[in-house]
Structure formats: C-alpha cells, structure tokens
C-alpha cells in the first residue's frame, strides 16, 4: 500500500501574496433613514469616527533580576586520566606511566623538543634578556612640554555661593583630606543668613563633604595642627578663633575665644607653632595685631604685638599701625621669627623670644619696592629659607631676609594676583592665581622672564592655591588645590616635570638667589656712596634756608616799621648791622643771578676800604631806607629784596663776618649799580668812589 503522502501548508502561503492598493472611495451601500425612528435618536452634530484596521499594541518594560556573576578559578589537581584507570590507585598509575614511556612517539617527540628547549636555556644563560637598562638615571624633564590635568572638583553645597578663603591639606599620612574655609570677603556683601559652615573633603568622595565644621561666624582661615592632626583651628570673620576636634561628632568648636579679647577684624591667617606642646598658635588680622594663643589654657591671648611701620609721625610721636593680611611661620628659618605681610604692601619681621616682649626687627619695602596693594600671600622658599615670596597687586616679588628691597620681581601680570605658593618639591617653581581664573606656573630654574605654564581653571576669580606636601600615590607635591570665588575647589595634577626635582635645581636656584641678593646689595651701596658725597652741602644749605626764612619775617617787620615811621637812630646802626646782615641773609627766592662775577671783583677791591666805609655805608643805607619808603617804597623794597637775594645766593657759599661785611658792601654796591641803571646820570666810580657820591635815588 502506498501510504498517502501529506504535507501541510498554511493558506496564507499559497499562491501569490495579495497586493492591496488604494482605490477610490465609493459607497458600497447604505440604509435609508426611517423618520419614525428618528425621534428616538438625538442628533449629534458634528461627529467624527475614525476606523482603522491596526491590531492594538502596547509597550511593556520588564526588568529581570540581575544575574550575579562571580569569577572563580578551578584548581586542577589531578590530570585527565583515561577512564579505565583509577588514579587513586598508585599501582595503576605507575603501570600506565611505564607503558607510556615505551611509546616510540614519545621518544621521538622528546628528542625534538629537547633540542628546542636546549637552545632556549642556553640563550637564557648567555644574556639576561629582561635586564633593566635605565634604572639609576634621573629623568631630564627640561625639554618636555608641560601639562596639567584636572582631577576632581569639590563644590560648595550651599545655595548662596561663598568664596573659598583658605585650603589646608591634612598633614597626616596619605594626604587625601583637605579642609576648606568659606567666607565672603567683599566689603559689606555678606547676606544675613550666610552659612557659617566649612567642610573637610576626602578625595575619595568628592560629592559629599567628609565632615562639616560649624562655627558662629564664617571662617576666613583654617589650619591643621601638625602634631595632633585631629585638631583644626579656624579664624573667623568676626575676629574670633575656634579650635575643632575632628573626632567629635558635634561640629561645634571645642574651644573658642571671647569676642572681646579677640581681633577686631577678620582673622586672615593662623599658624600652629612647632613648640613642645603643640597647643599654641599665632594669628594675624587687619587690626594690625599678632596674637599668640594656647588653647589648653584660658581663652585670653598669651601675647600680642602691634605691627608698626617704623616711621615716627611727628605730630603724635607714634608709629602708625599696619593691617596684617598674611603670615608665615617656619621653624627652619627661625623658631622665633614671624613674617607678616600687610595691607600697605610692606613686609614686617617680628621676633618673639621667650620671656621677652615682641619686637619688630625688620621692615621690608618701606624704602622702595613694596607692593602697590595688600600682600595676599607670603611664604618662605622650602629649600632656601632666607628667601620668601610675596604676592600682591599684579606681580610677585622675591625678597631676601637681609635686604629691605626685593631681589627679584616678576613682570606685571594682566590682572590682579590673588594668591601664590611655592612648590614643596621643586625650589624654583611657584604658583600664582589670578583674578580672571587662570593659574600661572613660574619655573625659575628654566626661565625667569616668562611664565612657564598657564592653566585656566574656570571663569570665576581664583582665591586660594596650595600644593600638597604629602605623598599621593608615591608622588610628592603633585597635587594642587585651587579655590575660587564660587566656592569650588579644583584639584589639579601636575605633570612629572613640574613636581619631580631636577638635577642640580636646588644648587642653581640657591645660586640665583645669591646672585640677585649681591646685586641688590651692591646697588644699595652705590646709592649710598653717591648720597654720601653731598650730605654736608645739602644739610647746611637746608639749615641756612630755614634761618633765612625766619629772618625774612623779621626783615619784613623792620621794613614795615620803617615805613610806618618808627625811625631807627644812627646810633643803633652798628646794632642794626648784624640785624641787617641777618636780614640780608634772608633767603628770598630771586631768580636773578646776573651780577656774581662783578661782585666778586668788587669784593676784592673793597677789602681795603672796609673798616672806614662800613659806617658810611650804613648811613647811606639808612638814608636810602628812609628815602625809599617816602618815595617809591615798593620799588625800593623790591630792590632791596633783589639785592639781598643776590647776596644771599652768594652767602650760601661764604661764612664768617668778613664775608658778611663784604656782602654789605656788595649790597651797597648793588644799590648803587641799580641806581646807576636807573639813573644813567648818576655815575659812581666802580672803585671806591661810589661811597661818597651817593645820590638819592630817582624821585
């Protein structure tokens, strides 16, 4: 029997697939309306009905349970024995082994492989292929292009954005925590409900702060204690200072100063002292004071000192006070020395010896070279502690402790500089932040007249920069924290050449500083020498000028009296002569310098005639005096003044009575000559004849 063959196929698959196309609309049929039924219906106008032949669809989201995967290894202990042999039976395994050994294939294979391996072994013995070639060499980065990379940002979580006023790295261990102080320092722009919190951030979690520090006032500065890194000191906007313990759960300070005893202005900088106890710190503020505190003791300052500018104000007999804006304390440079930068652009060095009062030993910049505005940052060079860097107005200056003027200055930047610091690992590198959001890196080892590298951190003004001094993944000094006026702290990683110390860098930077220091010193000496040549002349002329001024007053008084009619007798003439002489010495500034050579001649010629002529001259002068006020008094006075002025010029060089007499004579001669000039008729001999023939002046 033939079995029937059957196969199945869907109807849909038979024949050609249907092809549908649009056709004209034609009514296929319809029913007429029955008016009887119409009453049961309500007319609805208009109506829209849409018909479609699409299957209804809907979307669904399904999330299956996550499959947990894990990686596991298998430890293969026992190899893949053939099925028939039980590997736990040693007898079986050895039997199998011996059987295998007899396999000729094995012998041939081993031979071949042995030669191969032999070669490799010999190679190994010959050369160490994986030898380290460049182990001991130092990398020379000077030709590399510099680069910096932004690692992460820490944003201020509050709504009103405060600017970052200080960043401090935790000095302990793997440095990955930073304390940031926030405040608004613009004058009178603090909104009332400004948050007074500051934060400690951990680099591992940049989204939420590690710890919050709560004070009664926004903190302007913050610092970790070097010994006990759990203690933080913060200086506030209202002048108070608080100490926080990071381990505590409450965020309020464990110690706080009383507001009456604190600073009167925001505390701009605080440094922990490196004493034995580790409990002391010093603070500075624009109220002009340095205050020392011990937070284990009571809430009063242990000591305080004023930053004075060293110039005695002649009226109050006191020195004016400078407002302090930044502080530097480095035990390497001297455990008693404190460098303070001020609002006036001057740097002050204070010395605080134990059991003694604080004294200001040096002031830098008073004579010249000071900043044109407040100094925003001051820091000693980590390698060369005698030199320090100050940042203010548009430039950064490097000073040496021994000289009052800066030894090196950078060129003027295009915007204000707001902060700066040295790199802790490379002595020739320092960082500056600008008001337009740029971070400038200077490398004095490489080039001193140009910025080595610029990095734009953001659009808002940068306010703080600090470099980490602790190892981060084995690299010292590779992280830079920059804060800006919106409250964002940016962490920037430097390329290797910017933090790895170059060979000879320390020596060459030291030499550079030495060289500049010597140059400044020599310049100063040269200046002093120049000034040393002229001190006497200038001094005596100055004194004489003063005397002459006083005498001018007296002389005017005399003339006045003479005008008014109070006559002075001829008997008094000898008395008067000294007065006159003094009067003649009046330093009335007269531009005329025409007659000196003639006068000199006459002086000489008059020497013989002196004693006799003096009284006559005086008389004549008296007469002239009397006559003058009657006639053209003004003219006479002017003449007199002119004469006196001329004489005075000469008097500046001469001293002694004889000279004075000669001057008198000269004066008389001047009068006579002037008379001559005015009255050409009256001719007086140039020799001694003029004395007798004194003719009254023009009438």
């Amino acid at each position: 029997m033939v079995e029937p063959y059957s196969y199945k196929k869907k109807r849909r698959e038979f024949e050609r697939p249907p092809v549908f196309e649009d056709s004209e609309l034609k009514p296929l049929g319809g029913t007429l309306s029955t008016p009887a039924l119409q009453k049961q219906y309500v007319e609805k106008n208009p109506t829209h009905i849409i018909l479609d032949n699409i299957p209804p669809l809907s979307t669904h989201d399904v999330n299956t349970e996550r499959v947990v995967t894990a990686t596991r290894n298998m430890k293969h202990i026992e190899g893949g024995w053939p099925r028939e042999i039980d590997y736990s039976e040693e007898h079986d395994t050895t039997k199998w082994r011996t059987r295998q050994l007899k396999d000729p294939l094995l012998a041939a294979a081993v031979k071949e492989l042995a030669t191969l391996t032999d070669r490799a072994i010999k190679q190994n013995n010959q050369i160490d292929m994986f030898e380290e070639y460049f182990l001991g060499e130092q990398v020379d980065h000077s030709t590399e292009t510099l680069s910096t990379k932004t690692l992460m940002l820490f944003k201020d979580p509050n709504d009103t954005k405060r600017s970052v006023s200080k960043i401090a790295w935790n000095p302990e261990g793997p440095g990955n925590k930073i304390a940031v102080a926030y405040s608004i320092l613009r004058f009178q722009q603090m909104p009332e409900k400004l948050s007074t919190q500051s934060y400690i951030w951990d680099m591992a979690a940049p989204n939420t702060a590690f710890k919050t520090i709560q004070g009664s006032t926004p903190l302007v500065t913050i610092a970790f204690n070097n010994k006990y890194t759990d203690f933080l000191v913060g200086g506030g906007y209202n002048g108070t200072i608080g100490v926080w313990d990071v381990r505590e759960k409450t965020n309020t300070p464990s110690w706080q100063t009383a507001i009456e005893k604190s600073h009167h202005d925001p505390v701009y900088d605080i440094y922990w002292l490196h004493g034995k106890s580790g409990n002391e710190f010093v603070s500075i503020s624009t109220d002009g004071r340095l205050m020392w505190w011990d937070f284990r003791k009571d809430k009063d300052p242990t000591d305080s000192a004023y930053l004075t500018d060293g110039i005695q104000n002649s009226e109050t007999k006191q020195e004016s006070i400078l407002g302090g804006t930044c502080l530097e304390y480095n035990p390497e440079a001297g455990a008693t020395k404190y460098l303070a930068g001020t609002e006036q652009g001057v740097v002050v060095l204070a010395n605080k010896k134990p059991q003694k009062a604080v004294e200001i030993s040096h002031r830098y910049g008073i004579e010249g070279g000071k900043h044109h505005g407040p100094i925003y940052s001051i820091q000693r060079n980590p390698e060369e502690a005698k030199c320090f860097l100050t940042v203010g107005d548009w430039s950064a200056k490097i000073w040496s402790e021994e000289i009052n003027t800066p030894i090196m200055t950078t060129k003027y930047h295009d915007t204000y500089l707001t902060d700066g610091c040295w790199s802790p690992t490379r002595p020739g590198v320092f960082f500056l932040t600008q008001m337009d959001g740029w971070l400038q890196i200077w490398d004095y080892h490489y080039r001193q007249n140009e910025i080595a590298f610029s990095h734009k951190v953001g659009d808002s003004m940068l306010t703080v920069v600090t470099v980490q001094n602790q190892p981060n993944a084995g690299k010292f000094g590779s992280l830079v924290a920059v804060g800006d006026s919106e409250g964002t702290v940016t962490l920037i990683e430097l390329c290797e050449s910017l933090y790895e110390p170059q060979s000879n860098e320390k020596i060459s930077i030291k030499q550079t500083f030495e060289r500049e220091f010597t140059r400044e010193k020599n310049l100063k000496q040269a200046k002093r020498q120049q000034e040393g040549k002229k001190p006497k002349k200038e001094e005596t002329s100055f004194e004489k000028a003063r005397e002459k001024q006083n005498e001018a007053l007296r002389k005017l008084e005399e003339e006045f009296f003479a005008k008014v009619g109070i006559e002075i007798g001829e008997e008094k003439s000898p008395e008067k002569s000294p007065e006159r002489r003094e009067a003649e010495q009046d330093f009335t500034p007269v531009p005329q310098k025409q007659k000196p050579p003639e006068m000199v001649e006459k002086k000489q010629s008059f020497k013989e005639i002196e004693p006799q002529e003096v009284p006559q001259q005086e008389e004549a002068q008296l007469e002239e005096e009397k006559e003058m006020p009657e006639n053209e008094s003004e003219h006479g006075e002017i003449e007199k003044e002119e004469e006196q002025g001329e004489e005075v010029e000469k008097e500046g060089e001469m001293e002694g009575e004889q000279e004075q007499e000669q001057e008198q004579e000269q004066e008389k001669e001047q009068e006579q000559e002037q008379e001559q000039a005015q009255d050409p008729v009256v001719q007086n001999a140039e020799g001694g004849g003029g004395v007798d023939g004194v003719v009254p002046p023009e009438i």
């Binding site: 190899g79 071949e112 391996t117 160490d128």
Partner: protein, 89 residues
C-alpha cells in the same frame, strides 16, 4: 638527561595534554601542580595562536616570572616543561 646538567635548571617534566606527567625530575606534589596547570595553559595558548591565524601553530611558550622561567615546548601529544632560574649567572 642532558638538559638537567645546564646551569640554573631546576627541573623538567614531560607531560601529556591531559595533564598527567609521564616523567619528571621534581617531587610528586610539584610535578602534579606544574603538569596540570601548565598543560591547560599551553592548550589555551595553542588555540589562541591557531585562532589568530589558522596556518600558525604554537612552537614554544616562555613564562618569565620573578623567581624563575618556565619554558614549554609543545608537541602533538606531549609537552616538555623546563623550569630554569635564569639569573643565576
């Protein structure tokens, strides 16, 4: 064997692809470990080479570690494993 006499050679193993050692100069425990682990590694290496280029085949495999160098010479059926201390010069 002659290979043993070379400088620095710690031991040799002859194993098959299943991971069973046929002949060895080291202790049992060590031999087991080496044979099983290295045979599986050699298989993977061979298949990698073959995958990359089907005409290619694995000739020699060298694993250099801090302490010694493991050299494997694979064959069709068997493999020769040598452990050497290359720094002993």
């Amino acid at each position: 064997m002659r290979i043993k006499t070379h400088k620095g050679v710690k031991g040799i193993i002859i194993a098959n692809y299943a991971g069973i050692s046929v002949k060895s100069s080291m202790s049992q425990a060590d031999t087991h470990k080496y044979a099983s682990l290295i045979s599986s590694l050699t298989l993977t290496a061979r298949s990698t080479v073959k995958d990359l280029d089907s005409q290619n085949d694995l000739v020699f495999l060298r694993i250099r570690s801090k302490k010694h160098e493991i050299m494997v010479a694979p064959d069709h059926e068997y493999m020769l494993i040598v452990i050497q201390n290359p720094d002993e010069e």
